[in-house]
Symmetry: C2
Subunit: 327 residues, 2 copies
DNA sequence: GTGAAAGCGCTAACAT
DNA sequence: ATGTTAGCGCTTTCAC
């Protein structure tokens, strides 16, 4: 790998000049510039990010902590963050957090050691874990999806999402609703979907029941057990609001395998609108999270913080009900 | 952010000593070690990866180029690579390649500039593109999924996969098969699935037809057009072998929406076994690619190359037919 | 066992 | 307009 020195020698100039044309900073004569450009090509020169980051103390890289790539939801988020970051001239360094607090600590450690200039954190964690982390981050940090009091957060309008889903089900004539929530112990922003569901059912006098699932466990089998139980315990059930599309998909499969017709016997609405939701049969009615805007806002917030601007403490991104064929 | 200097000062030793305890290299007195450890904790010190990489000329980071996160297939690969790399003591830097040759060039540029010590490349590209790239990589490179002559490659046993799928369909009594292949112009290893399909049909005297799809386009709608056409042109069709699970899922949806019963009227087998395939209804019969072994082998190959060992030019990972309910 | 010093590839004053 | 030089934070000889 050739270095700036090689280029300088080859072009017959000093390294400072090379650096100047590299960064388009400072004045360089056309001849020199030409010589340098040529030399760079000839030597197939690629500037060393590390060295540059070292001297500038900055990386132009945003660290992103994800719980996993298992749920396509996170992949979509990852992809959009990458895109938004690129538009702002930043790179992205992903870290998949292992289980529990330790996993998250490791991720943060890694990202800090990599000198990222900010971290987007998507992992839901209890308040205590957050507090512990916040003590020693010393880096711009924003929470995406999960909402944390002490940190600028960007979330979907989950109350609205819950409302939209519930009202839609009721409007379609459902009288006996079941909601499958995420892990309510984590105090996630997503819990608002569940609260909205409950409140709306109460207000409208619709019978309802809430079941709590252990989410990020990817316990696909655990989910199945839960769904099994739900169907057993709720023979009257005519509508399900699942807190994510994977769960909704599993409900559809279970229902169909038991001979229920969808939407005639049971109506189902999901949450997220991951890309397969439109592909399955019947295509899933769901609440779409705006991945692009979610990601862009989070990236924007990091960039702001890097530039010493203080972003809004909470950004709420609108959601949208996508009516397809399961309702 | 505290540096090694701060730690040294705080511990009352030289930076060399700090470096020694940091790397557990060279002899350090217990007292000194203690003082340093304490100082590191007190200052919340995190060694700077960049600086370390700069001086060592190595990163312990493997670069991975992916076409997108859109198909869950790639997410699963990404996740497994991360896992395998961690086990080998490496980090992973993902780069999502944009469209075409330029996107790939940019990705490679970025990864090289980031001083990764090797690149795992999953993107299918034409032979010319590959040749152009190979000229100036100067870095351990391995091709995953896509098979490239000049580069150590790790692939699934796609011939076997195609055979398994085709035989299974025939064994179930199908007489009129359709295969939806990927983009055959790219000369991917995956094309072997198609060749195996064709050969087996010929050998067994089963009527067949092959349709080519433009894959990585995520043209979900394009896919739909194609499927539509396939059903229109093949009223006799009683079995489909799709080259990936997403496509298979779309076939199922289309078939069901047209009133076909699965598997009674049409049997469908997919390829990949992405995690949702087991969740949809009916659960998809498919050829499972062994993500874990695929990834581990690729990582292993990079590590070998870093250590100046030459890996096998081609590793073929077995596949497995997972029979579920669409056949 | 420990410290001083050189240098990894680069940028940013400071000279010229 | 261009070159010289001092570091960025770290590892690694080489003395002591």
């Amino acid at each position: 790998m050739s270095t700036i020195k090689d280029v300088a020698r080859c072009a017959g100039v000093s390294i400072a000049t090379v650096s100047r044309v590299l960064n388009k900073k400072g004045a360089v004569s056309p001849e020199a510039e030409n010589a340098v450009t040529l030399a760079m090509q000839k030597l197939d020169y690629h500037p060393n990010h590390m060295a540059r980051a070292l001297v500038k103390g900055r990386n132009n890289t945003i660290g992103v902590i994800l719980p996993s790539f298992n749920n396509p939801f996170w992949s979509e988020i990852a992809q959009e963050i990458e895109k938004s970051a690129k538009e702002e001239g930043y790179h992205v360094l992903f870290s998949i957090a292992g289980e529990g607090e330790k996993g998250m600590d490791e991720s943060i450690s890694y990202l800090r050691a990599s000198q990222v200039c900010g971290i987007i954190q998507t992992f839901s964690a209890s308040q205590e874990v957050w507090s512990a982390i916040l003590k020693h981050v010393g880096l711009p940090l924003v929470a995406l999806i999960s909402d944390v009091k002490e940190v600028p957060s960007v979330v979907s309008d989950d109350t609205q999402g819950g409302l939209l889903a519930t009202r839609h089900l009721i409007a379609k004539g459902c009288k006996n609703l079941v909601h499958i929530s995420g892990d309510l112990k984590l105090q996630k922003h997503a819990d608002d979907r569940s609260f909205a569901f409950i409140e709306e059912c109460r207000k409208r006098g619709v019978a309802y029941r809430v079941y709590e699932s252990c989410p990020e466990k990817l316990g696909l089998e655990d989910n199945l057990d839960l769904i099994n139980r739900i169907f057993y315990e709720n023979p009257q059930m005519d509508g399900i609001f699942a807190s994510n599309d994977i769960m909704a998909t599993q409900c559809i499969s279970y229902a169909r395998s038991q001979g229920f017709r969808i939407p005639d016997d049971i109506r189902i609405v999901g949450y997220d609108d991951i890309s397969i939701s439109a592909l399955i049969y019947p295509p899933l009615t769901t609440v779409r999270q705006n991945y692009a805007q979610l990601s862009k806002t989070a990236v924007r917030a990091i960039v702001d913080m890097v530039h010493e601007k203080t972003p809004k403490p909470l950004e709420v991104v609108p959601v949208e009900l996508i009516e397809r064929k399961t309702t």
